[in-house]
Symmetry: C2
Subunit: 207 residues, 2 copies
């Protein structure tokens, strides 16, 4: 019967995995699941899943398990993806273009709304459904559109500058594809995607 206690960030980090797995089960027309089945599919312990979920409420039924659709709705609400968040993509190179055209945001709470670049040769061209806009007007445009989430797909040398502009425009969550740490005020959340970090974590274990 809890919630609104403090929830550890490491727990929050697992909820999207639970949600993704449940949505996949739903797409397989499954109705009910158990902490054990979820655990096996995700590769963690059943006890941990039950413990994590219990921090937010009692979502299951003893003897039965969890209603998949019900649990999906609870998780969507907890993670605040029971709505659609507009995203601004900065950088219209290969990565930015792939993000602008990515189909995987649909039904998961997000939608790319704008695409920016500073290269005059790219500004005004069309990529996916977007006309590339001039980075000069980034923070203004973001502010006017009330966009809270940005993705950085520019060279490392530009990443901090772009981050600053995003923050100035009111962005509060940044997903940074540039392989460099950026500094932002504590109120702004940052996540990183750098494939090399993942690869180097695996080569340690190779011969």
């Amino acid at each position: 019967m809890p919630s609104n206690q403090f929830i550890p960030d490491i727990v929050i980090g697992r909820l999207p995995q639970y949600l993704r797995t449940l949505q996949r089960m739903e797409s397989e027309n499954r109705i009910i699941t158990s902490s054990q089945e979820l655990a096996e599919r995700i590769g963690i312990s059943a006890a941990q899943i039950r413990k994590d979920l219990s921090l937010f409420g009692e979502f299951g039924k003893q003897g039965t398990g969890y209603d998949i659709h019900f649990l999906i709705e609870k998780l969507r609400s907890i993670l605040k993806v029971d709505r659609i968040w507009d995203i601004v993509v900065v950088g219209a190179g290969d990565i930015g273009s792939a993000l602008a055209r990515y189909q995987g945001f649909t039904n998961r709470g997000f939608r790319v709304a704008m695409l920016f670049d500073k290269d005059p040769a790219k500004i005004g061209t069309k990529i996916g459904n977007f006309v590339v806009q001039d980075s000069r007007y980034l923070s203004d445009a973001v502010q006017r559109a009330n966009i809270k989430i940005g993705m950085i797909a520019v060279p490392s040398s530009e990443a901090q500058n772009v981050a600053d502009q995003l923050v100035r425009g009111g962005v509060r969550a940044i997903l940074n594809y540039a392989p460099i740490s950026i500094n932002v005020p504590p109120v702004v959340h940052v996540q990183y995607i750098d494939p090399v970090i993942h690869l180097q974590r695996m080569t340690y274990y190779l011969d």
Copy 2:
């Protein structure tokens, strides 16, 4: 004076960040750093950095700090990126194409060596420096080239199948861009990149 004790995976996961930060410092022509400076740039505690590094040896000098170049070489050796690993990319859509052309692998231990797709319209075309090859021959080609690392950039519905073929071809590390868990033998390492997972982890904290 240690090493070859058991090193927790969570420590291994931080080493690539240390390496990336040190390489950036080196590119700024810095010679020496301290656990404190590294800690600030990465956003963790100095004690943790010293503790992590001490699991592998004594790499610093009391009163002085760490020689950046020396520590880079140590980390490259520990992570086994003091060599160049060939990578196979499967899927020549937007993500696979971006990976095939990504400049960020250079000098970090990796090189894309082959690109595969199953779409006849893509097979034989050129993307970056690669001619797209027929997925039919994936496991054979991977085996012949002795490739140990694969990246999956195909639709979710194909990901498990591709993973199976990679494993059959001798791949031992997989970076999966499809938003779905894959099952592989315990000897094979898997890492996931799904931007939505990162985004959902941040929306929890937004209003």
